[in-house]
Symmetry: C2
Subunit: 125 residues, 2 copies
DNA sequence: CCGAGAATGAAAACCATTGTCATCTTGCCG
DNA sequence: CGGCAAGATGACAATGGTTTTCATTCTCGG
């Protein structure tokens, strides 16, 4: 693992929310651990390919990343304000998806299920 | 409704797949019906706000739009190649989402459920 | 017919992301 | 140790979708 990858992973292990590349870069800068923006992007790409990070896009189209606790397939309940997320599993949905695909003769690559709102902390504030 | 909105809506009523702003612009151009790219973006924005179009982002982060048959809340089975989509309802999922949000004290704004793959036509080709 | 307010679109600005390339590390072999 | 090859790094430029700006053009009520 490269220096940039270690730095990014450390940051995301610390925070544990969905964070954008630019945010990660800024935070690393602020904490003295200086890594170029390009390297942050490369590290995020590599770690995501490696399955160590989950990626999702915000409503605005910005990519955000999170270090998840489970390496199993799961979905997220995400706070649109702070990025805090709860990992959830939905076996019933998985089955429903598979059946549906078969019915319509689609070859499925993936599916997404996300619940977006405000966590209790952000809702109160 | 403005000229641009009529043109965009006509195009999307014709095609009925998820299409990007740039694609719509190109198609209108090609069909003689010339509308500026800016106006296409504005029309898509307005029509989406109006609930006349459904929007989603491709994996690459590009926004795509579709004229759906149902104005009820529904989800999509989408072909990542050609944009063809099947509208599906999932009452069980809706309920599950609501319960989950309550459990975790999240104030829910929205949720997304998408199934991405290849339609039978694209899979065969 | 007139004028105000909306619509239009070309061009510039934006901004996240990716490519380029010269430099710097690092680990290995002699 | 040296030194070299492969990979990593990061400043900078380029890309590409989207939004802003702004001057011009419609449109429609009075």
């Amino acid at each position: 693992m490269t220096r940039a990858q270690r730095a990014v992973l450390a940051q995301l292990t610390n925070d544990r929310a969905f964070v954008s590349a630019q945010d990660i870069h800024a935070r690393l800068r602020r904490s003295g651990e200086s890594v170029g923006l390009t390297s942050v992007y490369r590290a995020l790409q590599a770690l995501t390919d490696d399955g160590q990070l989950d990626a999702r896009r915000t409503d605005g189209g910005e990519a955000t990343y999170r270090r998840c606790g489970s390496d199993q397939h799961h979905h997220h309940l995400v706070c649109r304000q702070c990025g805090a997320a709860v990992e959830v599993e939905a076996p019933a949905v998985e089955k429903w998806v598979a059946d549906l695909a078969a019915t319509h003769r689609y070859v499925i690559d993936a599916h997404t299920l996300e619940i977006i709102g405000l966590c209790s902390r952000c809702a109160d504030a």
